[in-house]
């Protein structure tokens, strides 16, 4: 029975949360808090299953294939789980579960309007489902469908955020639609050249295609599509506003994970599908590298300009996504390992930082860094996590951020691309500046906040700075950054090596 269940785990990871998401409104009609408990429970189940899946993929040493509807690919759709996306699925489901837990104090079940929290949880759960499906699928069109689910739930979560949320969401809607269309156009061109949509089959049949203009055009469309979705410079226009004004509790998921998974999808297209020995691949990687370098510098410089906590984090994300793209453009084992490690470590760092930002908003309504003065006396755990996560962002060992940059630098040196190493160092120094400015305000600034009225945080147990349901995710984000830093060699050599070496 157990082994039978393990065979179905790839699809159950997506379907169990889906059941929670669609039944949440109906359940909460009968009991206001049961709906949100269903979603949290379903996401916890998905997280447990993703761990089992990763363990069995590592044990088996080869990729899992799950044929949906029992149709043999390329006639039907398949899920393919290998070491790289196995670990990314663990990441998505873990952060999804943590964020659902974290949202709980923001969306207390209200007997008067039970639908408000049910609707929020349903949309949040759909965001997680979309990201899980995006990482699992082995079919180019199925990837588009999941991309739509991610985008649509993202629009919703941004629009129900702060006052400027609807405008930010509308902007993202316009840009995101262009991105999705560009992706679809790229897939359409590949389909016209090969007649198939299955990724493994595409890879085989593209080797025989001699119509180069189609492939080049498809690549251009895919770079634009994924670039918009992952907010790669200069296609980042929607990102700062969307990340600053989204629903505070869902923001960690949006800022931390939503822009990383398209980066993984890009890896899949450019390394697993396209023939990396093609002569023009070098040009394509150089173009991605230029976009990445400009994005890293632009994001770091822009982040210096702002006083709003979320804006600083959002612009820093543009730079950090640049690192991931840089890893792909380096294109050797260390570059890709660094990029995948950076997807993981930056997901925890940015999610954790947005958790702390949401905790400040929840307790004191703080939006700007100059209001942070002496807050650490009242919120020691949150501020401790903030320090750990920020130090990791600037790339200090032994935190995770250091090791992903280390691998990127190793890869760049191996290829003789010393410019990339210089850019890595400069941007680390710049990020040190903007994070130490936050520390300066936090530890040396004048105390400006006053204790809010007691009803603002009635869910908080006495002696705690914020409710336990928020403290646990904050603590875990900081712990995971340390754990990833210490365990980086296991991830790179034990999990990523077999898969990444297989595609190079």
């Amino acid at each position: 029975m157990i082994s039978y269940m393990i065979n179905h785990i790839p699809v159950l990871i997506v379907i169990v949360p889906l059941c929670g998401a669609v039944l949440c409104p109906a359940i909460s009609h009968f009991s206001p808090s049961a709906g949100k408990r269903t979603v949290i429970g379903a996401l916890l189940a998905a997280f447990c299953m993703s761990i089992i899946q990763l363990a069995s993929v590592i044990k088996a040493g080869e990729a899992f294939h799950y044929w949906l509807g029992g149709w043999q690919p390329p006639y039907g759709i398949e899920f393919v789980i290998d070491g790289v996306n196995g670990i990314i699925i663990v990441l998505v489901s873990f952060i999804g579960f943590m964020t659902a837990l974290f949202s709980s104090p923001f969306e207390e079940a209200d007997k008067e309007a039970p639908f408000r929290s049910a609707g929020y949880y349903s949309i949040l759960c759909f965001l997680v489902i979309g990201l899980l499906g995006l990482s699992s699928t082995g079919d180019a069109f199925n990837l588009y469908v999941f991309m739509e689910i991610v985008a649509l739930s993202g629009y919703g979560l941004i629009a129900i955020g702060e006052k400027k949320g609807p405008i930010a969401a509308f902007r993202y809607l316009l840009t995101g639609t262009i991105g999705a269309s560009a992706y679809l156009l790229g897939v359409g061109l590949l389909y016209s050249a090969t007649g198939t949509l299955n990724m493994a089959d595409l890879a085989i049949r593209l080797r025989e295609v001699d119509n180069m203009p189609v492939i080049v055009m498809a690549m251009a469309c895919l770079i634009v599509g994924f670039g918009i979705k992952m907010a790669l410079f200069p296609l980042h226009g929607w990102q700062p506003a969307a990340h600053s004004y989204a629903h505070p509790a869902a923001d960690p998921m949006i800022a931390g994970v939503m822009i990383k998974i398209p980066a993984y999808a890009m890896f899949r297209f450019f390394f697993c599908i396209f023939d990396s020995s093609l002569p023009m691949m070098k040009t394509i990687f150089t173009i991605i590298g230029i976009m990445a370098v400009l994005g890293i510098l632009f994001g770091s410089l822009k982040a210096l300009r702002y006083d709003k906590f979320n804006k600083i984090l959002a612009y820093s994300s543009i730079g950090q996504v640049g690192y991931i793209a840089l890893g792909f453009s380096i294109g050797n084992f260390y570059g890709i390992a660094g990029a995948v490690l950076h997807i993981l470590s930056h997901a925890f760092m940015k999610t954790g930082l947005f958790y702390t930002s949401a905790a400040f908003k929840y307790r004191y309504g703080i939006h700007y860094t100059d209001q942070l003065g002496q807050v650490y006396r009242k919120m020691p755990v949150t501020c401790g996590a903030l320090v750990v996560l920020s130090l990791s962002m600037t790339g200090l060992p032994p935190f995770a951020g250091f090791f992903s940059k280390w691998y990127l630098a190793l890869g760049a040196i191996q290829n003789g691309q010393y410019l990339y190493v210089a850019v890595l160092i400069i941007s680390s120094l710049l990020s040190a500046i903007y994070f130490f400015r936050i520390f300066e305000r936090l530890f040396m600034g004048e105390k400006t906040v006053t204790e809010p009225e007691s009803d603002a945080h009635e869910g908080t147990a006495p002696g705690l700075e914020v409710p336990l349901r928020m403290l646990i995710p904050i603590g875990f984000a900081a712990l995971m950054v340390i754990a990833l830093g210490l365990g980086n060699s296991f991830i790179v050599n034990g999990i990523l090596k077999t898969t990444v070496m297989g595609v190079l």
């Binding site: 179905h8 699809v11 379907i15 889906l18 059941c19 998401a21 669609v22 039944l23 949440c24 409104p25 109906a26 009609h29 799950y66 044929w67 949906l68 509807g69 029992g70 149709w71 390329p74 006639y75 039907g76 759709i77 309007a113 639908f115 408000r116 609707g119 929020y120 349903s122 949309i123 759909f126 489902i129 499906g133 069109f141 199925n142 469908v145 999941f146 739509e148 689910i149 649509l152 739930s153 629009y155 919703g156 629009a159 129900i160 609807p166 969401a169 061109l189 389909y191 016209s192 050249a193 090969t194 007649g195 198939t196 049949r205 119509n211 203009p213 189609v214 055009m217």
Partner: protein, 252 residues
Amino acid sequence: MEKKKIIGAAVIILAAVAAVIWAPDILPAVGDAESPVNSYLSTYYIENSLEDTGAHNMVTAVLADYRGFDTLFETCVMFLAGITALMVLSSTAKVDKSQREIQEPYKASFSGTVLDTAFRVVVPIIVIYAFYVFAHGETSLGGGFQAGALLAIAYMIDRIIPNFNNSLGNMTEEAAAMTAGVGVFIYILTGLLPMFNGGNFLQYEKLPFGAEHAAELHSTGIIMIEIGVVVCVMATIINILEVVLERTEFDD
């Protein structure tokens, strides 16, 4: 917007258009039997879809069976659109119901024979047609999405002609969203049932019903997911309609 930005955008668009116009022949000619699109997967679908799925229409076979997993998430997109519309507009206050009572002089203009007859004749036909499209969906083009939209239209006519005072009953926006969720759940359940019988997700031939041929089970599976799609699409359209109507002031 500044002039510079507009000029920049125009240059990029023109360059893209020029690239498309001057690009060499990158797409195969329409109807080219030798092109990869027409000679690879399509051949398999044309030769085997009737035998595999029992669906006489190949589009339905691909949509609901070979790629049924995509259609599940397309249905989810509908549900998500409805619930997002509800959440985004939930901060806008609803119009007071007493304000919406139709004034006496206007009432006369909506109780005309034409509207009354039209309603009595049109709505039943639409509903019957919806059931026809749904039941026929497995063998011909169409199916769940269209049938759901038709049922929603029947409700919509009833709802927006003020004189009838919702003779078909009035769904609240929350109830509509819940129903849409249940519709998607019917679809998921159709996919989960074969898993208890040794099949994969959405593998209709492993549905735990007795049948002589696998094709019959495929037809049953397609009909079951179509029921889910009908419920979801109908409820989502009603959901969005109600969300907007509840917040719109009528003065005529």
